[in-house]
Amino acid sequence: MKIDFWGHEFRVNVALGCFLGFLMAIVSSMFGFGGGPFMIAIMTVILKLPMYVSVGSSLLAIFFNTLMGTTRHYQFGNFDLVFFLVMFPAAILGGFIAPQIAKRISPITVKRIAVVGLLLLALNLLGLY
């Protein structure tokens, strides 16, 4: 499929993108996360699109997944309203505070900290320590 982005044209293997997106969506809705980083990785690494095309479009692609996943979780009775009302304001507040902090620290440092944090959490979940 050919896509057009601000006058640039890109060729994209949509079938592959759809298949990987489908697999990612199963996992992400099963475990209840958004899946943005994975979607961006699929678009930039495998579909070989530049970052600036991926950021917006990947958001749109996972929005569908989140909408469907939310509906299905609700249907299976996995949704707790009180719990949601506790976390939802916190998530929105975080969205307002974060950009203020982002101006002051380098994203690379944050990512390196995140790598360590994620690995520790992962090892804990795997029961290795």
Binding site: V12, S29, F38, Q75, F76, P107
Partner: protein
């Protein structure tokens, strides 16, 4: 803008169609019926007991019913209740303690059946599991309980009951209504629970209820406690510790000597006050500031590192609090909807979304999102954590790659182009206004 509206209309109507097909509206009314039914068994049970007991006193006057007293009748977010009582001399006394609050429990049976050698693939599900259920056993059984603890995750509740002699005390969960569904591969793919099988008989119901007790409470320490002290003259005392973070409402206690020889239940009222809140779906009481600050911190960190908070929030929530993974997954997911929506809106304003690409892959992810939530209830918490660990390792590798010099150089170039585009987009927007 037209496109957005069109998209919204399509997705919403598709979702509504699917809801109808799956009979969620019908299911809901079923749920209401269940909640009404919940009231009746208790009353009926009480009636039954009374009549049973009358018969008993008629037949077996030799074995007197145990008596039971408690030192207090109200608790504030947990506490300790001292139980004293009198039972026939030389008999073991078990205390069955349960909460009147009901929660959901489910178990997917995919283990090979010993008789037929086939995997049954049946999903057992109940909405009537007591939010708290524990059998207090005599102190002498402590060693036996330790043995069961050492078995690890593979312990069996029904064998434990037998080994500890507590089978006689197990009665409340055996009467809960259990639905069972025959799951099929095709059914799971299209996301249905499968065919509802006919109700089980009493014996089968009891057996399955034991498995559900294990599925809900997980560890032997949660369902057994060797604290009943029995003296030679037949008096007994026990400390019943109702922990923090348990369901509010009535707790019933009953002393059991034999299957037919039980005391009348006594009740303790557990109240909780703000900021502790009981989550009815999860069956857990929480100090709401815990999850609030956790999700605040994680979402800030998430925005900074460029990944949604869900990756870290979900595993932390299930690790820190006794929350079922199904509830966590189902409740965290909608919280990211808003940030995604506002992101899409912002990018669409500066024309930074390729609709063709986004919708094409988006449609594939809709199919995935339809299947995923079904699978959540088929796995246990341990499997949930384990797979999540693997996912996080992949994510960590991805993040590490994003900090390598090669990636950064490439990224810098692209960021330059991105800024250039943004500038142009803003100018275009201004020109339109002007």
């Amino acid at each position: 803008m037209k496109r957005i509206f069109l998209l919204l209309v399509i997705t919403v109507s598709a979702a509504v169609c699917m809801l109808f097909q799956n009979g969620v509206f019908a299911e809901k009314s079923g749920g209401a019926k269940i909640s009404i039914r919940q009231e009746t068994p208790i009353a009926a049970q009480k009636g039954d007991q009374k009549s049973e007991m009358k018969q008993e006193t008629g037949k077996t006057e030799a074995v007197a019913r145990p008596s039971i007293q408690i030192d207090k009748t109200s608790l504030n977010n947990g506490g300790i209740v001292i139980v004293t009582g009198f039972a026939p001399k030389g008999k073991s006394v078990y205390l069955e303690v349960w909460s009147e609050n009901k929660v959901r429990a489910s178990r997917f049976d995919a283990e090979i059946d010993k008789d037929t050698g086939k995997r049954p693939y049946i999903l057992y599900m109940t909405y009537e599991m007591p939010a708290y259920y524990k059998i207090y056993i005599p102190k002498e059984q402590k060693e036996n309980l330790e043995k069961i603890r050492k078995e690890g995750g593979k312990w069996s509740y029904s064998t434990a009951l037998k080994d500890l002699g507590a089978e006689v005390a197990f009665s409340v969960p055996s009467k809960i209504a259990i639905e069972r569904y025959q799951a099929t591969l095709m059914g799971s793919i299209i996301g249905s629970r499968g065919e509802l099988l006919p109700q089980m008989d009493e014996k089968e119901n009891k057996k399955r209820s034991m498995q559900l007790v294990k599925a809900r409470f997980r560890s032997p320490g949660k369902v057994f406690s060797p604290t009943v002290e029995i003296r030679e003259d037949g008096t007994f005392t026990a400390k019943i510790a109702i922990d923090k973070g348990l369901a509010p409402g009535k707790y019933m206690l009953r002393a059991v000597v034999d299957k037919e020889v039980k005391s009348e239940p006594v009740t303790v009222e557990n109240t909780i006050t703000f900021p502790h809140i009981y989550l009815t779906n999860a069956g857990t009481t929480l100090n709401i500031f815990g999850p609030f600050f956790l999700s605040l911190g994680i979402s800030i960190f998430g925005v900074l590192m460029g990944a949604g908070g869900g990756f870290m929030l979900n595993p932390l929530l299930v690790s820190i609090w006794p929350l079922p993974h199904t509830i966590v997954a189902g409740t965290v997911m909608p919280t990211v909807l808003f940030s995604q929506g506002s992101g899409i809106y912002n990018y669409s304003k500066i024309n930074f979304i390729n609709w063709k690409l986004g919708v094409a892959i988006g449609l594939a992810t809709v199919a995935g999102g339809f299947i995923g939530p079904k699978l959540t209830e088929l796995i246990t918490l341990e499997q949930f954590k384990f797979i999540f660990g693997l996912i996080l390792i992949v994510l960590a590798a991805l993040m590490l790659w994003q900090t390598t010099p090669g990636y950064l150089a490439k990224n810098q170039k692209e960021q330059g182009i991105l800024k250039e585009f943004k500038k142009r987009a803003e100018e275009a927007a201004r020109a339109k206004k002007g």
